[in-house]
Each structure stands twice: as structure tokens, then as C-alpha cells.
């Protein structure tokens, strides 16, 4: 496993992401990834910046925390945040700028990178050296190792590909970063957050997912009932989100979320490449489908050819006993 010595000239910035006052687990993975190239500084912003900074200062491997608060950066608008990050990078001489892959980081990282005329590397799954990274293309069917010639390496890092840094043991200083007044080319109107009592899809140890075989939104209740005793998250294919059976935050796949739970149970899903791209790193995959020829069985560790409307409730019953 590659690890630069502390004499390395690398210096990494990790842009942290928070949700409801807590740093997201994927950010902890990004910190681990970043520590492979040099000492890590974490950057917190947004309306929970102070709370996030406190948490980040205690994360093992974080040497310094920078925090930006104020109205301009409160809602995470990339037009306001990118100039702030640019200034931070210039002032501190960072050689690497990472963030865990997410809608937030995908929105921000390229906008910062282009200010430096550098090519950001999307969804890194492995860091081979300070300039060589692995990522996937063609819906996960091509594993590509790339070497960057840029002076600063910008990238998003897949949260499921790196161990999460410990949340204790760190003792970093917190330094406030100045933010100028908002540029005002964009305005945040509102966030429409799906309310759910279930665990987060990208970090749950068990995920049950449903596809077109469920036939309608109502039937997803069967998966909710299976998920409950498992304390599982519930995911969905693009098809059922398009059809309106599920909200978009449940979509797993090449253009949705990438997950890697300990156990993935897919019901009524044919297993198109695009869906598989988002879950094939799951440790154990169980598939339930009436079609014995469904491509999904090719990636399944355990395949049950059967009717999910019988199998799923039956499995739920077994789990409850």
C-alpha cells in the first residue's frame, strides 16, 4: 500500500460536507484518501460550519481545520464557494484538493479546478501515488489508471473506496477564513429534503433495492417491511424513479449513487449495466427475480428465481422470528 513519508512535499485539502450538523461519513473516507499524499487540512463551510469544524478538529489525521462562515457560503452555492476555496489553495500551497464524491463536490470541485487551469479527476477509487489515480469509466466497465501532470491535483474521491478516518484522536487548530460579500449571480431558494426514518443509503450496512418488478409505488412497502428488521436502507433503480415510484435520492447506479454495503438484496431488478455500476462493490449480493435469465443473476452471490411478492414477505417473516 502506497504511503508517502512525512517528508513528502504533498499538502492536501479536504473539502468537508455536512448534513444536519454532522460531517458526512464519506468525508472521513476522503480524509483517509488525502492522508496518503501528505498532511491534511479540512475545510468546513455552510450553515453548520462551526459544528463541523469542531468535529473535524478531532478526526485522526486532520492537522488543521479551516472554516468559512457567513451568508455568502451558508448555502453551498459553488459560485460563492469556489472563489473562497481558490484563495485558500493559493494562500496555503495545497498540492491536492479532494472531496468525497457527492452532488455537492461534483458541483464545486471542477469549478475550482478550472480557475487553476487544471483537470479534475472524478470519483477516484484508489490513490497509487501523488500523481497517479484510479477511476472508472463506461459505467464501471473500464478501470482506468491516470497520471496527472497538473501542479495541483483536484479530485472527488469515492467514499466507499477508502476506510473512514477515526473521529477521535485528532487535535487540530481551527482557523477562520475570511469571506467577502456574496457575488450574487446565484441565489439559493430552498432545499426539499426527503424525510426518511431509514439509514442513509450510501453508508448503510444492508441495502434492499427494488426495480420495475415492484410494479408500483405502493408495493415498495414490501421492501420497507423487509428493511425494518434489517435496519437497512432502501434503494431503487433509475426506471422506478423515472416512473415516479420513488424519489430521486433513492437511485442507485451509474448516474445515481454508488453504494458498497455488506449485503445488497435486489428484488424485481433485471440488472442493467447502469444499475450494477452503482452497487457491484457490495460484499454479498442476493437477487430475487422471476426471470431466470435476468442479467442480475450474473453478479449475484445468491440468486433466487421466484416471485418477489411471495419471497420478500416470506424473508421478512423469517427475519422477524
Amino acid at each position: 500500500m502506497f504511503r508517502l513519508s512525512s517528508l513528502s512535499l504533498g499538502k492536501a485539502l479536504v473539502i468537508a460536507e455536512t448534513l444536519e450538523g454532522k460531517i458526512v461519513p464519506a468525508t472521513l473516507a476522503a480524509i483517509t484518501a488525502a492522508s496518503k499524499v501528505g498532511p491534511v487540512t479540512a475545510f468546513a463551510s455552510g450553515k453548520d460550519a462551526a459544528a463541523a469544524a469542531e468535529q473535524l478538529s478531532k478526526v485522526a489525521g486532520v492537522e488543521q481545520v479551516l472554516v468559512a462562515s457567513g451568508d455568502a457560503v451558508a448555502t453551498g452555492l459553488p459560485e460563492e464557494l469556489a472563489p473562497v476555496v481558490k484563495t485558500i489553495v493559493e494562500k496555503n500551497g495545497f498540492t491536492h484538493v479532494f472531496a468525497a464524491t457527492s452532488a455537492f463536490s461534483k458541483n464545486l470541485i471542477p469549478r475550482v479546478a478550472v480557475k487553476f487551469d487544471m483537470m479534475p479527476i472524478a470519483d477516484i477509487t484508489s490513490i497509487q501515488s501523488e500523481d497517479t489515480f484510479v477511476r472508472h469509466a463506461y459505467a464501471g466497465n473500464v478501470v482506468s489508471t491516470v497520471k496527472s501532470a497538473d501542479a495541483i491535483k483536484f479530485g472527488t474521491v469515492r467514499g466507499t473506496s477508502f476506510e473512514r478516518a477515526a473521529t477521535t484522536g485528532g487535535n487540530a487548530a481551527i482557523v477562520a477564513v475570511e469571506c467577502s460579500a456574496a457575488l450574487g449571480k446565484s441565489k439559493w431558494i430552498e432545499d426539499l429534503i426527503a424525510k426518511s426514518d431509514k439509514p442513509d443509503l450510501t453508508t448503510a450496512a444492508i441495502v434492499v433495492a427494488g426495480g420495475r418488478g415492484l410494479k408500483n409505488a405502493e408495493n415498495f412497502k414490501l421492501l420497507d417491511e423487509l428493511a425494518a428488521p434489517l435496519k437497512a436502507a432502501v434503494g431503487a433503480t433509475r426506471a422506478v424513479v423515472d416512473a415516479g415510484f420513488c424519489p430521486n435520492d433513492m437511485q442507485v447506479g451509474q448516474t445515481g449513487k454508488t453504494i458498497a454495503p455488506t449485503l445488497y438484496i435486489g428484488a424485481g431488478i433485471s440488472g442493467a449495466i447502469q444499475h450494477v455500476a452503482g452497487m457491484k462493490e457490495s460484499k454479498v449480493i442476493a437477487v430475487i427475480n422471476t426471470d431466470a435469465d435476468a442479467p442480475f443473476f450474473q453478479v449475484a452471490d445468491y440468486g433466487l428465481v421466484g416471485d418477489l411478492f411471495e419471497a420478500v414477505p416470506a424473508l421478512t417473516k423469517l427475519l422477524k422470528n
Binding site: N107, P110, M119, A122, N141, V142, A149, D191, L192, L315
Partner: protein, 263 residues
């Protein structure tokens, strides 16, 4: 600082759509001898670019957009995506031609620079691009373009509404959706649920064949398109160990609990 946006007296609204020709999403991609096998495979308009085109055409039908221009940066054969764009209703098409040898290493950053150059010339009010190309999966070009021209960006757009010199964008984010309002000119990145693209009818396809395409070689633009990333290696992902079929739910439960030990 970029020029302040001012809609003209006649309320002209120019929309430019970026369109990419990619390996069709249904092709089973193979890697051999450190090379992605793309010879003779089916090529198509990138699905997200289809959605971008559809949105632009709808803006025109609603009489919000007065001119829609489609742009592609690609090999000579990529002009077929522009034919499709014009068949769908684009007024003009620009093809920035990339030599075949260079196409394989053309990066999102280079494409964004080309589009930024065109922005200076065309001065559109709105750019609509697909959120990601299903070959490279970088999902970065719209944001790179927006940063270069210092325009606000609406990524993962599932709905857009143009009014009073601004565009309201509903974005799909990890926890749900977000609504932002952007001053024009802006860059929007189309996501899956923005719309359902139509199919061009045969008559439109035939008519589009005769329309002129503004064709320019990439090296005449005065843009630095050299790649920053070198591909050291490409390989197929490691195959999963073959699994087994179980006959009953009870057997599945037993295997998951006692063999895999995940329940």
C-alpha cells in the same frame, strides 16, 4: 469580470446546447491490450445530451428561446449528432472537428475551453449540456464551462423555468432536491428527469440532412486542448466469483445467515 447581462429590446434569447457522440449505452464495452475496444461499436447521442436538446427545443416551442444552436466537439463522423439536433428543431449547428487521433485523449477541460471560446462569439443567454457523458463519466464539463465564463451553474437539473432574465433550476441533490435561481447567462446541466426526449420524425431527419453545418477544425480556435491526464493503464474490472442459485426463501435465509454471515 464578465459583461453584465442585458436582454435585448426584442427579448431575444439564444440557447446553445452541447451534444456529444458516445458509445451507445447498451454496448458491452471490452478492454484488450490496454485499449478500450471502440472500433465498429454502435455510437449514439449521449443520453443526457438528448435531454439537453429536448429542453432547448421545448424552450423554443414555448417561445422563450428565439434561437437554438447545437454544438459538438468531436471527430468528423460526429456530425451525425448535429443532424439529429437539427432534425429535433435546432436552428444552427456548429461542428468543432477533432482529428481521430486526438479524440481519444480530448478531456472535459479542453472541451470546456472550446465552448468558452464559442461563448465569446455567440454570446448565448443559456447553455444546456448533459450532466455527464456515459463514456468518460466525468460529469464535469458544464461546471468547467461555467467556471471559465464566470457564469452561475445549475447542475443535476430536473426542472428549469426561465423568467425575467433569470433561470430557476430545481436540482437533484443527494438528500432530495434544491431550487436555485441563476442570473443569465447561465449553464444548466441536464439530469435524467428534466424531460423525456422525443424521437425526430423521418421528414425532419431528411430535411436536416440538407441543412448547412458550420464546420471548423479545433486547431483554428486558438485554444489549448492538450491533455493534462495520461492514461497509464485501462483494464476490465475484476470479475466477481460466480454465485449460486438457491431454490427457496428458506435456503436464501440460511445461506445469508450461516454461510455469508451477513444477517
Amino acid at each position: 469580470m464578465s459583461l453584465m447581462y442585458r436582454p435585448t429590446a426584442a427579448q431575444q434569447m439564444k440557447v446553445v446546447v452541447g451534444v456529444k457522440r458516445v458509445v451507445d449505452y447498451s454496448v458491452k464495452i471490452r478492454v484488450k491490450d490496454n485499449k478500450v475496444q471502440t472500433d465498429n461499436v454502435k455510437m449514439s447521442v449521449n443520453p443526457f445530451c438528448e435531454i439537453a436538446l429536448e429542453e432547448a427545443v421545448r424552450l423554443k416551442e414555448k417561445k422563450i428561446a428565439t434561437e437554438v444552436i447545437a454544438v459538438t466537439v468531436g471527430v468528423k463522423k460526429a456530425d451525425d449528432v448535429l443532424r439529429t439536433a437539427m432534425a429535433l428543431g435546432c436552428d444552427k449547428a456548429i461542428h468543432i472537428v477533432v482529428p481521430d487521433a486526438e479524440a481519444a485523449t480530448l478531456e472535459p477541460l479542453a472541451v470546456a475551453k472550446v465552448l468558452a471560446k464559442l461563448h465569446e462569439e455567440l454570446k448565448p443567454d443559456l447553455w444546456i449540456l448533459g450532466k455527464q457523458a456515459v463514456d468518460g463519466d466525468f460529469g464535469s464539463t458544464p461546471q468547467l464551462l461555467a467556471g471559465l465564463i464566470d457564469a452561475p451553474q445549475g447542475t443535476f437539473a430536473s426542472e428549469i423555468a426561465v423568467a425575467d432574465g433569470k433561470v430557476k433550476v430545481t436540482r437533484e441533490i443527494d438528500a432530495g432536491r434544491q431550487v436555485v435561481e441563476l442570473n443569465l447567462p447561465a449553464v444548466v446541466a441536464a439530469d435524467l428527469r428534466l424531460n423525456q426526449p422525443r424521437f425526430p420524425n423521418l421528414q425532419s431527419i431528411m430535411k436536416a440532412r440538407k441543412k448547412p453545418v458550420d464546420t471548423r477544425p479545433i486547431d483554428k480556435l486558438g485554444v489549448d486542448t492538450k491533455p493534462h491526464l495520461a492514461t497509464v493503464k485501462v483494464e476490465e474490472p475484476a470479475a466477481r466469483k460466480a454465485g449460486i442459485k438457491v431454490k427457496t426463501v428458506e435456503e436464501l435465509f440460511d445461506k445469508l445467515r450461516n454461510e455469508a454471515k451477513v444477517l
